[in-house]
């Protein structure tokens, strides 16, 4: 299709516009290019060149100080067989799933409730959004105390009802649940407000029609609300995937005191060492810039893969 207009166009351009026109054209538009240039210059210096450089780096060995040494594909070969990296993928995905699915469920329920509540809607929205305003560092410090083994609130509650205490920040599942709880707390309100915006585009007549047809609230939600909310759901899921799979600050701050070797080690047994934590550890603790770059590309691949899976899953349901 593209070839037909392409064949037709060149002669027209040749006859109508003389050879000097391009310079004149640029002169005519220069102020527009100047206006968008700050972003593109910054992007060139701190975005594009770095990305290219990190690709180049991943084929080398470099400690950041000495001279670079060509390593071919050996960094990637090592990455594929690196059990620690695979462990970090598993850790990241488990934390992401533990946080994202409850979060989406709770956000949707909250949004539906907000949508039907007539009074105090704005006050509720502000209150639910508040967790998202706070910094991860401050929140992680607070959650560290809530989940503390010796004096944490969760264990005090368990003790009060006669259950065994859990060494939350010392066991593989405890660590993951603590991190996921923090993320769920911080993002439920934010996504509820996004869902609410989606809900408000659903025309009221549809609910009216469903009610006349005798549909209950659950049926109405499944048959009317959910299908119309699908674009919003896709948006929320993709954003949660891209950010959730790159979690760093939550485990880093939460586990920095339980870690014995480095601030990026992700707690006992590396049970909270996400992919990005592993990247920081390899790069800035071990000064292994070449391998760090390979890890970064590995993370990128995992994130893109998951985003495509998300997209496909929701698209396919659309066709059905």
């Amino acid at each position: 299709m593209a070839t037909v207009p392409a064949l037709e166009k060149p002669p027209v351009v040749m006859t109508e516009i003389p050879a000097v026109q391009p310079r004149k054209g640029f002169r005519r538009y220069w102020h527009l290019y100047a206006a968008i240039s700050p972003f593109y210059l910054l992007f060139l210096a701190f975005g594009l060149i770095p990305v290219g450089f990190s690709l180049y780096l991943s084929f080398h060995r470099w400690d950041g100080l000495g001279s670079m040494e060509w390593a071919g594909l050996s960094q990637y070969r090592y990455l594929v067989g690196d059990g620690d990296f695979w462990q970090s993928i598993g850790t990241t995905v488990v934390i992401w799933a533990l946080a994202t699915f409850p979060m989406i469920f709770l956000a949707m329920v909250t949004a539906v409730m907000l949508n039907s509540a007539v009074r105090f809607k704005n006050a509720y929205r502000v209150a639910f959004f508040l967790p998202n305003v706070t910094s991860v560092v401050a929140v992680a410090i607070v959650f560290g105390s809530v989940f503390s083994t010796n004096f944490g609130l969760v264990n005090a509650l368990l003790q009060a009802v006669g259950l065994d205490q859990v060494a939350w920040l010392n066991t593989p599942w405890g660590i993951k649940i603590a991190i996921a709880t923090l993320m769920t707390w911080q993002w439920t309100g934010y996504n509820a407000i996004i869902f609410l915006a989606g809900l408000q585009t659903v025309p009221g007549e549809l609910y009216e029609a469903a009610r006349i047809d005798g549909a209950g609230p659950v049926q109405t939600f499944l048959r009317v609300t959910l299908p119309l909310l699908r674009p919003t759901l896709l948006f929320v899921l993709v954003v949660s995937t891209v950010t959730g799979l790159q979690s760093f600050s939550e485990p880093q701050v939460l586990l920095q005191n339980t870690a014995n070797e480095s601030a990026f080690s992700g707690g006992p047994g590396h049970s909270g060492r996400t992919m990005v934590l592993y990247f920081f550890q390899q790069t800035f603790d071990n000064n292994d810039f070449g391998y760090g770059a390979a890890v970064a590309w590995g993370i990128f691949l995992v994130v893109v893969l998951f985003s495509i899976i998300n997209w496909r899953l929701l698209q396919r349901r659309d066709e059905a």
Partner: protein, 288 residues
């Protein structure tokens, strides 16, 4: 609701809907309490001594040791120094982002020029590039420039961003009317005058959203400052908090929690000013 049918609502119906409304507000308030609880918990912890915190049963009400904790906090870290750094970075970046993003957004929203589609496509692609891919080379470049350890390393790369340009473009497309631009052109206004006198006054609410969003994002930024600020005595508030948690987190909980609480104050002020704006526009961006 029942009156939409033209039916007279029965007494039982009213009682039922009232009960439903009560249940609704009860669940919503439970959610609000869960959202607010960690804030309350931070207040409780920051008003007790360590020995009180370590005791069982846990203290559930605020105590009296807040002033002591504040004093030991100020002894342990340069709290106001790092807060000044955070303020410097967040306000400078916000100002630059507003200027550069709105200029670029204005161009993409209202003008045609060769290469526009390509450049805008590139912008969308940049959205996807994760921070880790840039972190190492950025660190190396900035080390060469001598910026590592200074706030410049945080300000310069953040001075314009793809999200802001994209968001402002969407906003400007509908907010600025073409007739207005045409009229100003006939009056002889050049590009900068159009930007300043026609575009900016109309998009002020959009700028407010972008400003609050950018400020909060910069204030809370942690990963890159942690790497780039190599001098432990010259850091932003988030890095200082993390240092504090790292050195005193297992011993003086009350003091660390006081730091976390005080670090929230400027942010809560900004949020209080712009809550309505940010919550309203957040939804708009998602469903467009």
């Amino acid at each position: 609701m029942a009156s939409i049918h033209g039916l007279k609502p029965s007494r039982a119906g009213i009682r039922g809907s009232r009960r439903r409304a009560l249940a609704l507000h009860a669940s919503l308030i439970t959610g609000v309490l869960l959202s607010a609880f960690p804030f309350y918990w931070a207040v409780v912890m920051s008003t007790h001594t360590s020995s009180e915190i370590f005791s069982y049963p846990p203290k559930l009400l605020p105590g009296t040791h807040f002033p002591d904790n504040v004093r030991s906090l100020f002894d342990a870290v340069d709290f106001f120094g790092s807060m000044a750094n955070s303020l410097l970075v967040a306000t400078t970046v916000t100002f630059l982002v507003l200027l550069f993003d709105s200029l670029a957004a204005f161009v993409f929203a209202k003008f045609a020029f060769p290469g526009k589609r390509l450049l805008f496509g590139l912008l969308m692609l940049i959205f996807m590039v994760p921070m880790q891919l840039q972190a190492i080379p950025q660190f190396v470049i900035m080390a060469r420039l001598g910026w590592i350890g200074s706030m410049t390393a945080l300000i310069v790369p953040a001075a314009a961003n793809a999200f802001g340009i994209f968001w402002m473009r969407q906003y400007m497309k509908s907010a600025i009317h073409d007739e207005l631009l045409d009229a100003s052109r006939i009056d002889g206004a050049n590009f900068l005058r159009q930007y300043w006198h026609v575009a900016l006054p109309v998009v002020r609410p959009g700028l407010a959203f972008l400003a609050i969003f950018t400020f909060m994002g910069q204030w809370n930024d942690y990963a890159w400052p942690l790497i780039a600020l190599t001098d432990p005595d010259n850091v932003t508030l988030q890095v200082a908090l993390s240092q504090l948690n790292g050195t005193h987190g297992t011993t003086d909980y009350g003091m660390v929690m006081t730091g976390a609480l005080l670090a929230l104050v400027p942010l809560l002020i900004v949020f209080a000013i712009g809550a309505r704006q940010i919550i309203g526009d957040l939804g708009k961006g998602a469903i467009k």
